[in-house]
Structures are given as C-alpha cells and as structure tokens.
C-alpha cells in the first residue's frame, strides 16, 4: 500500500505538528480502497489511515468535507470499478473517484436488489 503514488509520505506532510492534528481513518482489510473516518474531516485535512492494530497504513488528504463515520477513498477508483471495504466489494463507483474523495451515496451504488433498474 505504501508504494501507492496517491498517498502522502510522512516527509510530504512536513512538520510533526501537522501529523499530530491529522484526522484518523480506520482501514479494515489490506484489499480495501476506502477507509472510515473516525472524526470529522474538512477539505485539505491530513488523514492518517490506521489498521485495527493501530499501525499507520498510509497518510492521505481529504479532498472535501467528510462526516465522522463516513468513507474516504485511498486510491483512484474508475467509474464502474468495485469499491472495497472489509476486503469485499460494497458496490461500484458511480463516476470516477479520486484518492482523498468523500465516498458515499453520491458516487457509490449498490448492485443488489435493484428492481427499479
């Protein structure tokens, strides 16, 4: 994961103080391309993505405001590609998603039980 070009390295973030004020997101499985914000994030906020054992998986930046408990993209996800959480698909990207984007009903759709289609 650390090699992903969309992640910020600790050096890129700069001083330790910015890392201390960083928001935290929880990452559930190594296959995931989204993580859950454990606090509210505003556009531009640095987000430290941690695994459940507390280790830092990667560091990214929120492209927009994200509500606590909602998801942030950790990679670019092309339109129609799977959004992965818990190691499994939770639906498809509806439009292209950029690393750091807020991921919710506006850009992620379920493929299950869709009698309306």
């Amino acid at each position: 994961m650390e090699q992903n070009k969309h992640y910020f390295s600790k050096e890129q973030i700069g001083s330790e103080s910015s890392a201390e004020t960083a928001k935290t997101a929880l990452f559930m499985n190594k296959k995931d391309n989204v993580a859950t914000l454990l606090s509210e994030a505003a556009a531009g906020d640095i987000v430290m993505v941690k695994a459940s054992d507390g280790s830092i998986v990667c560091i990214t930046r929120a492209n927009g405001d994200i509500v606590r408990g909602h998801k942030i993209a950790l990679k670019n996800i092309a339109d129609g590609d799977d959004v992965i959480k818990y190691g499994f698909s939770i639906g498809k990207a509806n439009g292209s998603i950029i690393s750091g984007d807020y991921v919710h009903t506006h850009n992620l759709v379920s493929g299950r039980g869709r009698g309306d289609l």
Binding site: L26, M28, V67, G69, I90, G115
Partner: protein, 387 residues
C-alpha cells in the same frame, strides 16, 4: 460450566419464569393486554393477525405462537381466543399443554364479555404467579443455553466495534458449550464471500444463498430499489452507503464461528459446536421472533443508532459502539463499547464484557429493556392479506 436456570416439564431450561398471555387473534389483543397489565410477571403476546390467514402463512403463525407457549423462558401460559378465528384457540391450547402443563384457555365467545374475561384471566395469572414465584433456579449445563445475535439501527460503529465484539463473544459461548443462532437474511446480501468460508457444509451455504436470492428477487419482482430500506435512511446517515457494506459489518457478529446448520423460520436450532443460521428478515421484531422460535433464551442486540426495543419471550441485551448513543440513550444501553473507537479498548475486551453480561443475564440479572418494560411481540406474516 453450570448456570442457574428454571427447569421445565419438557426438559428444557429457562432464564426467566414469566407468564405468556397469548391472543389467538388481534380482536382480543386489548383483553390480553388488560390481563397482562394487572400481573407483573405476565406479558401480552399481541399481534395483528390470527384471522384471514391461509396455507403456509397460517401454519407459521400457529407454530410461532406454539413455540412461544413452549419457550423455555415461559413458566405458564394463558391462551385467549375469540372463537371464530383461523388460529383455533382449542388447538393451540392443546398443542402448548402437551409440553407446558401450566396452560389455561379462555375463549370469549364461549365465556363472556371483556370485563368478565379480563377478570377471569387475571385470576388465572395470579394463580400461575403464586406457583412460579415459589420455583427456584437449579443447576443446568451451559449446553442448555441458546443465545441469539441481532443487530439493528446499524451505523459505522456496528461493523467496527460492537459486531466484532459479539463475534468474540459467540466464539467463547460456543467453546463453553452453548448454542448460538443468528438471522437477518437480507443483511447478509453482499457477505456471501465470508459465509462461504464459515459454512462447514456446502448445503448450508447453498441454503443461505438461496434465501438471500429470494429476498433480492422479491425486490426485483416488485420493481423496487432495495435501497429504500436497505440501508435505511438512518443507516445511510450513519455512514453505511450500500446493503453490501451493511451486510459485511453485520456478519462480523458471528466472528470466526463455523456455521454448522441453516434452518427455516419457525424451526428449532439443534446443533452445538458452531453457529446456526435462521432464515429471518432483518426487521428487528421479526428477527427476534425467528431466533426466539429457534430456542434463544437470551438475545444480544448491537445498535449504533440506538433502539429501545425488547422482546416478550427473552431478555435482549443492548450493545453499542457509538459514544453519542451511549450517552443520549444511556438508560437503554447495557454495554458501551465506544472505547474500541474512541479509546484503547480491544475487540477481545469488548467480547469478554458481552460474554459476561450474557452469563449474568441468563442467571437472572435484568437488562435495560426489561427494567424499562420493553417486552415487544409480533408475528411474522409471509403472505399478503387476501381476504
């Protein structure tokens, strides 16, 4: 491991010793409620049905009421009938009485009006109460205990904190010798990959997938978007975007337990040594009924958004991982696991807390829903009202 429980005539053991006042039709609900309200250990098992039911739907309603009357937590039963309904009061009475000797029947069209029936019903329940209060708990092996897992009002905390803790609890209970059951078929849609890994037998995996597909096909046949209710508006506000995401969080509540059986709604769980799937809707009260019919004497319910619901036949322990709800609905919550998200509590510690609460509840400690009088009940209808 031994637990203090109430021994029943049919050889089962209950964690509660209450009276079930069971109306056979909605028309007598008020009478059942008046009777139960007058006796502190009696609960009215009211429901909107009993009439205009046909075929498998009628059979299931009858069977569910029979299973409530013979449930291990039920110490005595009063069946209240009207006299012209399809759930035949005399038949239900006889069916319960074969396993539960302390069963009585009043049929209003044979006996009298509201006032007289309520008065007679209270007399019967007072006599039951006198007997039940004298009964003492005895040592029972933990293998006599069945625990039901549920989640409702889910949010992002459910899949991160409370459900994984339930998973640890379920593993501990199974290792100790108890049976564990779970349901909520709709909320497994998208979690098939995990179920495949956990099912010991391919036939059980096929059964679960078939039941998930039935729900999905019903939505497709009705030309509705399942997203209207799954996830619900509250789930979506709480960070769950799709049914797949909700399901993958929901399935965490079975942890790494092997699935050893898969049964239909209204069937009893038989197997130890793993978890049993029961085909129930995600709807909380219908799920509670399904897993109580499977034999669960204690229900453990995780909630991120918060819900006060309880169930008539079994104590329902409320667990949350959401710190806001743990404060706002404090009196409704038994176990606050928000420390997993906000502090340094581990999932193992969470699991241990819930496990200990289950044991205490099984031995008589009242949970929040019981203290507050939440003893809800309904039947689960599987066909539309045709007539």
């Amino acid at each position: 491991m031994k637990l203090k429980m109430f021994k029943r005539a049919n050889g089962t053991f209950g964690v509660r010793n209450r009276i079930a006042v069971i109306p056979t039709v909605a028309c007598v609900n008020h009478v059942a409620e008046k009777i139960a309200a007058a006796v502190d250990i009696a609960d009215a098992y009211t429901h909107p049905y009993g009439c205009d039911q046909l075929g498998a739907d009628l059979t299931l309603s009858f069977e569910c009421l029979r299973l409530m009357g013979t449930h291990p937590n039920t110490g005595a039963v009063l069946v209240v009938g009207l006299g012209c309904e399809e759930i035949l009061p005399h038949e239900l009475y006889e069916a319960i009485k074969t396993e539960q000797p302390d069963t009585e029947l009043i049929v209003m069209q044979e006996f009298g009006g509201t006032t007289d029936t309520v008065e007679r019903g209270i007399e019967i329940c007072e006599a039951f109460k006198e007997k039940l209060l004298k009964q003492e708990r005895v040592d029972a092996d933990i293998s006599e205990l069945t625990v039901g897992l549920e989640c409702g009002g889910s949010d992002f905390t459910s899949g991160i904190a409370s459900n994984p803790s339930l998973g640890k609890m379920a593993e501990k209970l199974i290792n100790a010798g108890a049976k564990v059951v779970f349901g909520e078929t709709t909320e497994l849609m998208g979690a098939e990959g995990i179920l495949k890994e956990l099912c010991e037998n391919e036939k059980d995996y096929d059964f679960i997938c078939d039941r998930i597909k039935r729900v999905e096909n019903t939505a497709i046949d009705m030309k509705v978007d399942l997203r209207g209710t799954q996830p619900s508006p509250g789930n979506i506000d709480g960070g769950l975007t799709t049914i797949e995401e909700k399901s993958l969080g929901a399935v965490c509540k079975i942890g790494q337990c092997k699935i050893v059986d898969a049964i239909a709604f209204g069937e009893k769980a038989k197997k130890h040594g793993g978890i049993t799937f029961v085909d129930t809707p995600g709807n909380d009260i219908a799920c509670s009924l399904g897993i109580a019919c499977a034999g669960a004497q204690v229900l453990v319910f995780t909630t991120g958004r918060g819900t006060p619901m309880g169930f008539a036949a079994a104590p329902m322990i409320k667990v949350t991982g959401n710190s806001r709800i743990a404060k706002v609905m404090k009196e409704n919550i038994d176990i606050d696991l928000s420390g997993i998200i906000d502090a340094d509590m581990t999932i193992d510690e969470g699991g241990k807390l819930v496990y200990e609460a289950v044991i205490k509840t099984a031995e008589g400690e009242e949970c929040a829903a019981e203290k507050l009088g939440h003893r809800d009940f309904s039947l689960y209808r599987i066909s539309p009202i045709l007539t």
